[in-house]
């Protein structure tokens, strides 16, 4: 049994708004149960407005009204003891940040302060949590930058003097310099060019392996997940609909949404016509009854419109929330033999 770093049990996070006398409730994260293990990359995939960003905001305990935790629990199991960020005192949660729990954000240009040198940003974020004397601190920062293939000279540069790929590497360095046990990465490579994207992903993977930390990696791009994630969780309309080891999930999906997501990706050398999924993601203020995917689902039956399917094991380490998961067939064959995992 591998150890967990984070266990989440039936977590519900809703946006509650009351404008002009009308109460609106947006169920962005509804009844999510998952765990993230030590030393793994857990990928979260889903379309925009599927609730994936809200989910990681609750992971980072960075929620502000109107977002509210409505139910469920969330516990981190760090080396220095278990902690539930929503029950613990604020000072204790703040002490976790950066040294145990850190965040690689999307859009590195807006993250780094444009009028401060990179050196100052490192000082602001990392100096206090590391608790080292100044010379030792800068030694650690410089050796960490070198690990990410950055020269220590970037410390005296302003953000606009660096290229997009370098800035993204600086934010990765910033998030990992304190060797945190848990890193959340929110679409860190979406804005990058293809060549740079691969470099940055390889770097995240290397740093994660060297430090033995856990990474929650969020992106809507399944081909990125295929390359970096150990396990993938698929979000649809606020719910986790399928979870499994990367290879199994891609080669033998057990939820119709995942099957479509995988089959709709174009590949070089593949000339078969691709079918895009009809319809659009549901409005989370008024989600459909029963399974939220049923209006777009080719397998939907009467039961799907009324009963919510539970997320149940369908194989080794593999869970799916579908009443007809046994009948889901992969819509595309993914290359080589070793991927043909027995369902």
């Amino acid at each position: 049994m591998t150890e967990n770093v984070l266990t989440v049990t039936s977590l519900k996070a809703y946006y509650r708004m009351a404008y002009f006398g009308v109460d609106r409730e947006v169920r962005a994260v509804d009844d999510v149960t998952l765990s993230v293990r030590k030393n793994e990359v857990y990928g979260i995939a889903g379309e925009s407005s599927s609730g994936k960003t809200t989910l990681i905001k609750t992971f980072a305990s960075a929620i502000r009204p109107p977002l509210k935790i409505v139910g469920g629990s969330m516990t981190y199991h760090f080396e220095n003891g278990d902690i539930d960020p929503y029950a613990a005192p604020k000072a204790k949660v703040d002490a976790l940040r950066w040294s145990h729990l850190s965040y690689i954000m999307q859009g590195s240009m807006s993250l780094l302060n444009p009028v401060r040198r990179i050196r100052r940003t490192f000082e602001d974020f990392a100096f206090r949590p590391m608790g080292l004397p100044s010379s030792e601190f800068w030694g650690r920062v410089e050796s960490h930058l070198q690990r990410l293939d950055l020269s220590p000279n970037v410390l005296s540069a302003y953000p606009h003097q660096l290229s997009g790929g370098m800035r993204q590497r600086v934010t990765i360095a910033l998030a990992t310099v304190c060797q945190p046990e848990f890193v959340i990465a929110d679409e860190p490579t979406t804005a990058l060019d293809v060549v740079v994207q691969k470099d940055v992903l390889a770097m995240i993977r290397d740093v994660q392996r060297q430090m033995g930390s856990s990474v929650v990696f969020v992106t809507h791009d399944m081909s990125v997940h295929a390359n970096i994630a150990d396990r993938i969780g698929i979000m649809y309309a606020g719910r986790l609909v399928e979870e499994g080891p990367t290879r199994t999930l891609l080669a033998a999906p057990r939820h119709p949404y995942t099957a479509h997501l995988v089959a709709s990706l174009p590949r070089i050398g593949d000339t078969t016509p691709k079918v895009a999924l009809e319809g659009r993601p549901p409005n989370l203020a008024e989600p459909p009854t029963g399974c939220r995917f049923h209006p777009r689902c080719p397998l939907a039956i009467e039961k799907c419109t009324t009963d919510v399917p539970p997320l149940e094991p369908v194989g080794l380490d593999h869970r799916s929330a579908c009443w007809r998961s046994a009948e889901v067939r992969p819509l595309t064959r993914i290359g080589h033999q070793e991927l043909e995992v027995a369902g």
Partner: protein
């Protein structure tokens, strides 16, 4: 063959900075391409940021003037279109689609207002009912209808729908050429295919040629007829799309293809930085290299 668009020996040179910090950028160097008006096609321009692909598109649209060389659309240069009416006629034939649909539309105005404006000025609709039927026809081509869009603001539509509306707006004057600058890079991966398939259907059903600008090789493979690959302003490989992407010859094209992530890589642990040395070496020689023709019809700068 009558030429729809002819780009011959086009270069664009930018000068930035003041007297002390002047720097020169060759955004596009000696680009040649042509589209025929007999058969519609999807012509893809591939390159990283800074490769000059957007500059080339802006020059074709007449938003930028080439430093040297000639761009002729239906036999006429942009500089020859001196009157307002001539320029409007040009935009009836060539229409742009931009990258981010949320920035294309003003968030404070209703989406259909743009459609009405295009129907009036570009199509020349005289009455509201005429404009509406034109708009409805254009929206039907992209799988929407005026009923779904009328009165809605940009934030009420999803990114994929909004990009369809942007394409519908471009289709109102029945253009023969669409210039789509990264139309899917801001759209979710799951919706991407519906947009690129739409571009392909426009080519097949309505005979619209598309210049598709992207850095995504997989969608380019899926829909393009021909493509060019650009490295920092230079066209390094040009020709039929699928043969080139199946077996790229220029080192830079190979680097791009090696960097493409695919779902078939799952579990192969193939996540290593691509080797840049050959591409960098080819870049050193780019000034003296010439485009050479190959048997399958491609041109490679070696």
């Amino acid at each position: 063959m009558t030429a729809l668009l002819e780009v011959s020996h086009v270069s664009k040179h930018f000068v930035t900075g003041g007297r002390l910090s002047r720097s020169h950028i060759d955004a596009v160097v000696d680009a040649n391409l042509s589209l025929s008006s007999d058969a519609s096609e999807i012509f893809t321009i591939i390159g990283e940021s800074g490769s000059g692909k957007t500059t080339l598109a802006r020059m074709i649209l007449g938003l930028e003037h080439p430093t040297s060389g000639d761009i002729r659309f239906e036999g006429k240069r942009n500089a020859e279109r001196r009157t307002r009416a001539a320029r409007r006629d040009f935009y009836r034939r060539v229409q742009p689609i931009f990258q981010n649909p949320f920035e294309t539309f003003n968030p404070l105005k209703r989406v259909d207002r743009y459609l009405h404006a295009s129907a009036r000025t570009l199509f020349g609709a005289r009455t509201a009912s005429e404009a509406e039927s034109v708009i409805d026809g254009a929206l039907h081509k992209v799988g929407l209808s005026l009923r779904e869009v009328a009165g809605r603001y940009a934030h009420e539509l999803s990114g994929g729908q909004l990009q369809r509306v942007a394409i519908a707006r471009a289709l109102i004057p029945n253009p023969s050429l669409l210039i789509a600058d990264e139309p899917v890079s801001m759209v979710d991966a799951s919706l991407r295919m519906s947009i690129v398939t739409l571009l392909r259907d426009l080519r097949d059903e309505f005979g619209v040629s598309v210049i598709y600008i992207t850095h995504d090789l997989a969608t380019a493979y899926y829909i393009s007829d021909r493509l060019v690959i650009m490295q920092k302003g230079y066209v390094v490989e040009m020709g039929p799309a699928r043969p080139i992407l199946d077996a790229p010859e220029h080192p830079y094209s190979r680097l791009l293809k090696d960097s493409v992530l695919s779902i078939t890589d799952a579990g192969t642990d193939g996540l290593v930085s691509a080797d840049r040395s050959e591409s960098a070496a080819a870049w050193e020689r780019v000034g003296t290299a010439t485009l050479q023709e190959r048997e399958d019809g491609r041109f490679v700068r070696l």
